[in-house]
Symmetry: C2
Subunit: 380 residues, 2 copies
């Protein structure tokens, strides 16, 4: 029943000394598997293989330790949901434990499809190489489908590659889903016919459990070329289900709404690298949106760089995905940000695109020019 294949999780532990750290690591080994008092754990397979194993433990700074704990792949039952549970189920409730990184063997990775498009597939879909991709959001809530579509048209004419709904647009009376998607798809197609570009419109499909997949399929039927959802609201597994569905087959974008509590406390939760990088890739997103450093949120430059690293760290056949920093981005920072992220990034500029000047289409052109100039490809 036990193959001997194990995966590892690297945890960061807050502990006064090595003895306490070792106790904490051992408590994790029990808690995440048998959840049973140590003295009662049956001998044999359960004690030898199912209980987690401390593979390494080392101090990394005063009062901070790193533990590498391995688990039998069979504990996850080939289920993404149960993988999340083994990695961080009950211990999410214990302070002073943070998931830093997953180390998954090929035998486990091969159970996952990962993102369908990834970086290369998205570039092909959009027909853009050699520069960062441009991304914006339609808002504010309260506008009509016609007003949002007008905005989408201008953004597409101005050269934005991906135009999404604001993540707060679901099915409000102001702009019901079907009407909004129909109008925005038509607007972007009209612009594409003029520009020759392959700009895509991506509606937000975050919705109640019985409606997410239906909205995704409706969006596709109406001509949308991708979907966005907030996996902490719908469930990460719902995102994975959509991404895995070959018949659906559109790019999937992950939005961080309701997900922040996993990363806002330095000593608890999940690292930016693991959550927005590794776990989001396992869950099949092609693009991961997160708040950029220096905007109106509080991620540091280092945390954002960790996310970018997590989006492309080797995970077997699981493709690299695009990091998409947003959240208070302004156009005058493009040069600085390209120095940090390079070309393999999608800049999500929302409000900043509107603030730049009175003509939205002109603002988009300026955004594209900036990015094209800094990437020195001449390709715009």
């Amino acid at each position: 029943m036990i193959s001997g294949e194990r995966f590892s999780v690297i945890y960061r532990l807050i502990s006064a000394d090595e003895q306490e750290a070792r106790q904490k690591a051992w408590a994790i080994c029990l808690e995440q598997t048998v959840e049973f008092p140590e003295e009662l754990v049956p001998a044999g397979m359960i004690r030898d293989d199912i209980v987690g194993r401390i593979e390494a433990l080392a101090p990394i700074s005063a009062g901070v330790y790193q533990a590498v704990i391995s688990y039998a792949v069979e504990t996850t039952a080939n289920e993404f949901t149960q993988l999340l549970n083994v990695v961080f189920g009950n211990i999410s409730i214990k302070p002073g434990i943070r998931v830093e990184r997953l180390a998954l063997p090929q035998s486990l990775l091969s159970q996952y499809c990962g993102p369908r498009f990834g970086r290369e597939g998205l570039r092909e879909l959009l027909g853009v190489s050699g520069r960062p991709l441009l991304f914006t959001a339609l808002k504010p809530m309260g506008l009509s489908p016609a007003q949002l579509a007008d905005m989408a048209y201008k953004c597409a004419m101005g050269g934005i590659d991906i135009i999404k709904d604001d993540h707060g647009l679901t099915n409000q009376v102001f702009a019901p889903f079907r009407e909004r998607v129909t109008a925005c798809v038509a607007a972007v197609e009209k612009a594409n016919a003029r520009t020759g570009r392959q700009t895509i419109y991506v509606p937000n499909i975050t919705a109640p459990a019985n409606e997410v997949v239906a909205r995704a399929k409706l969006a596709k039927t109406l001509g949308a070329k991708g979907v966005m959802l907030s996996p902490a609201i719908t469930g990460l597994a719902v995102m994975k289900f959509l991404a895995d569905d070959a018949e659906f087959g559109l790019p999937v974008i992950s939005h961080p709404a309701f997900q922040g509590s996993y990363v806002t406390a330095h000593d608890n939760g999940i690292s930016h690298f693991a959550l927005f990088g590794q776990i989001t890739r396992l869950a099949g997103a092609d693009i991961v949106i997160y708040p950029n450093f220096g905007g109106r949120f509080s991620f540091s430059r280092e945390e954002c760089q960790d996310i970018a690293r997590g989006t492309c760290v080797n995970m077997g056949q699981i493709k690299p995905i695009f990091p998409s920093p947003g959240g208070g981005m302004s156009l005058d920072r493009i040069g600085e940000l390209m120095a940090v992220y390079g070309n393999e990034v999608i800049f999500l500029v929302g409000g900043g695109l509107f603030k730049h000047g009175p003509d939205l289409e002109e603002n988009c052109r300026y955004f594209l020019d900036m990015v094209s100039n800094f990437s020195n490809t001449g390709d715009n």
Copy 2:
């Protein structure tokens, strides 16, 4: 388009002074609705009604403020998922903001079914009144269906009211779902036939997105009388979907795995009261499991009392549910815990039940006697 009906969220803000607190509150009003620079928010309905409103702001201690912010009910589109997004979507990423409490008007509450059974319905189903209910978990992972069923039989013979899977048992090769449920249902039915009790077996249905509902229905077909899931893993909305399904119609139990990060940091996240009480009730759970104070987790007695309050605070037609403290409970604490929780509680004792003595059935009887004696009803 705007009814004038608004709901409120009470936030706890970490701010140096009142001016900073007001700025933070106003930033929430914008972030959670229009997500747009203030100066660009269109006049009229959007600025007047859709943008959140600061209804009150007051200091509660040094550097800590409480803000009451109201939102138009229309922003939620009658969707639980979008309600979560308005309450704590993007601001989950901003440190120093905690959701303390929801204040929902009848017009919004009336959109929600809430728990199907609630406290009264569960007592009726189980045929137990006048004392706390007894709850245990089958474990450890690695046991076979026959071994787990044997354990279930002994627990049911000993008088446990609800016997659940450990939350880590999903569909592992050691005890596949169908075989496990079949065996445990039969064992509990056999015991019930002898004792005359109405003990129920509740399998864990936490599973990938396309399998949760299927497992819930399979469990029912196989004779299970309730289901448990970890909503932070499946998505809270998935739990609500099941609870709302009249044809399914079984009690639903919420497990806190992967949910801890919302509550482990005092200055971020969601309060115990709102998350385990109010939000879990909106999501339809009849029982909410959480780690008790004094066990191997770190919730304080006050936080646990807040949870208990949240499970029964007035929410219109949404029924009160059972708080179910677990996580390192030992039998010798029953008296102390009944002084804290009273009779309207479900004691979840896992490992402690096994540790008490070598005879599991006897241990269960002892547990029941303790609870019955302390509740002074003579009803056991």
